[in-house]
Amino acid sequence: MQLVTAVIKPHMLDPVKEALRDVGASGITVTQVSGFGRQGGHTETYRGAEYQVDFVPKIKVEVLTDVGGADKIADAISRSARTGQIGDGKIWVTDVGHAVRIRTGEMGIDAI
């Protein structure tokens, strides 16, 4: 099995969710994160003092899939999360040794 992880722009979560549903992903786990990268942060001012906010809000999406499915999923995310502007984010894939569905105790590919 494999785990596809993506860091995307918050307002692209909706299209990504749709795209994943379309390619048959059975589930998603989503986390609010903050990103630092080429996109850069911005400056805020409070009571006349400036300060730099380096981090930009992002959403992390994780999808567990069987080995064959990872490419399809990465591809679906890549297409649906793209705005073409800096800060669209990254996708990466890692190997997963084994998986369990807690409710039933099912293992491996059946767990997903």
Binding site: P10, H11, S34, E44, Y46, D54, F55, P57, T83
Partner: protein, 457 residues
């Protein structure tokens, strides 16, 4: 120490002379005391009305998103600040100064040579002005909610100044200021301003929301409205409570005197608010199966707006009916404006515009003296209708022109990126809910926790 208190008293006495008001000594007559009581009561009522600004700010803040919360609070604070100056300099003279049937032309800058003693009955110029300016600020601030989350702060500032200085005062002159609406039929009756204050605000809100267009994401591609839930129901309901108590000042203070009519006015106010709350919650409950908190709040406010015109002219039963129906009307009105793609995040158009009109017409139905249901025919109702329509036409035209003008010059709406990120950072420099700064001084990365505040693009 007695000596010194005497000094203070002397100073006060002196001041009395300076401000040219009659001094009260040991031998004050009952009439003197009554005059003081009139002024004290109306001042206390004015304080309650000014407190309503906090109520409006909270209702609007609560029913919109966290990422623009500073902006809402600032709009409410600054339309009061700027409004006091604008109304004092210009608006008050247009509203209450001598002039023609349409607007006043004298008394700029609270000119005491024009507004001489007795001009406002037993009320002094300061008392009367403070009470009235609180009303002007109310009319102005109603619009803020309908235009929330997408309007440039600068542009709102300009609008608010214009409404307080020019548009609202003209309507006041037509009515309380002695203008033409008093001469129609039995005379247009709007005791505390269902139309004069609330509908003016509501119709201006309508034009603002119309010229602005809906918030990004409010409608699906096929035009169906989506819910954009407000970020803090407790703020919204606290705001409703504050508005409710402030309204006792609004309505009962509009008696402009301390007398025994104040009690009945307060009673109709209380009953209509309660009935509005019950009507609003019952309607939404029946329609959707859920007693929605925001709609319950809107119901209470609708009841209050509804009774404002007739608060001194109708009896308790009528007050309950007017409020109850206002509570029903407001729910359907909110649905209506949602459907016709006018995005009013807080329901200001429905609460103030529509229910203001309803309340004004209801006087023609329920007034114990002149009302249709009291067998007095259609004369009053017709007059009320003329007033409602006249104000609607005047405000939609002038406010429409104002917003169109602002749009064409400085612009009315913030850029798309700014709207997506929320107005607080781009317009005011910092988020309304800043995450706790880390010990080293950098704010924590969790801007997102209190509502995703950074620039997304």
């Amino acid at each position: 120490m007695k000596r010194r208190l005497a000094t203070v008293a002397g100073l006060a006495a002196l001041l009395l002379v300076v401000t040219a008001t009659p001094a009260f000594a040991q031998d004050a007559t009952a009439a003197d005391v009554q005059i003081v009581l009139d002024n004290i009561w109306v001042l206390v009522a004015a304080v309650l009305v000014i407190f309503m600004q906090a109520g409006f700010a909270l209702v609007e803040a609560g029913l919109t998103r966290a990422k623009s919360v500073s902006n809402i609070m600032m709009k409410n604070l600054m339309d009061l600040s700027a409004g006091v100056l604008a109304f004092g300099a210009v608006g008050f003279a247009i509203a209450f100064g001598a002039g023609n049937d349409w607007f006043g032309t004298e008394g700029w800058f609270l000119n005491t040579n024009h507004f001489t003693d007795g001009y406002f009955g037993t009320l002094t110029l300061p008392t009367f002005f403070i009470f009235q300016v609180a009303f002007a600020a109310t009319a102005a601030t109603i619009v803020s909610g309908a235009m929330a989350e997408r309007t440039k702060f600068k542009s709102y500032f300009i609008y608010s100044f214009a409404l307080t200085a020019l548009i609202y005062p003209v309507v006041v002159h037509w009515t309380w200021g002695g203008g033409w609406l008093n001469d129609i039929g039995p005379g247009f009756t709007d005791f505390a301003g269902s139309t004069i204050v609330h509908s003016v605000g509501g119709w201006a809100a309508l034009m603002g929301a119309l010229v602005l267009g809906p918030r990004i994401g409010k409608y699906t591609k096929d035009g169906k409205p989506r819910a954009i839930p407000g970020h803090s129901i407790p703020f919204a309901i606290l705001g409703v409570f504050i508005l409710w108590i402030g309204w006792f000042g609004f309505n009962a203070g509009s008696e402009l005197a301390a007398d025994l009519a104040v009690g009945p006015i307060a009673l109709t106010t209380l009953l209509a608010a309660a009935a509005g709350g019950v009507g609003g919650v019952a309607t939404i409950w029946l329609k959707t199966g859920k007693p929605d908190a925001a709609m319950a709040g809107n119901g209470v406010l609708a009841g209050l707006v509804g009774i404002t015109a007739g608060t001194a002219a109708v009896g308790p039963w009528a007050a309950v009916l007017i409020g109850l129906l206002a509570g029903v009307i407001v729910v359907y009105s909110v649905f209506f404006f949602d459907r016709i793609r006018i995005d009013d995040p807080v329901g200001a158009i429905s609460v103030h515009g529509v229910c203001g009109a309803w309340g004004t017409l209801a006087v023609g139905l329920f007034a114990t003296d002149g009302g249709l249901f009291y067998g007095d025919g259609l004369a009053l109702l017709g007059t009320q209708l003329v007033g409602v329509v006249a104000v609607f036409v005047f405000v939609t035209l002038t406010a429409g022109a104002l917003f169109a003008g602002i749009k064409a010059t400085v612009g009315l709406r913030v850029p798309r990126e700014e709207e997506l990120a929320g107005l607080d950072i781009a317009e005011h420099g910092a988020p309304g809910y800043a995450p706790d700064a880390m010990p080293a001084g950098t704010p924590s990365p969790l801007s997102a926790a209190a509502g995703a505040a950074a620039v997304v693009s």
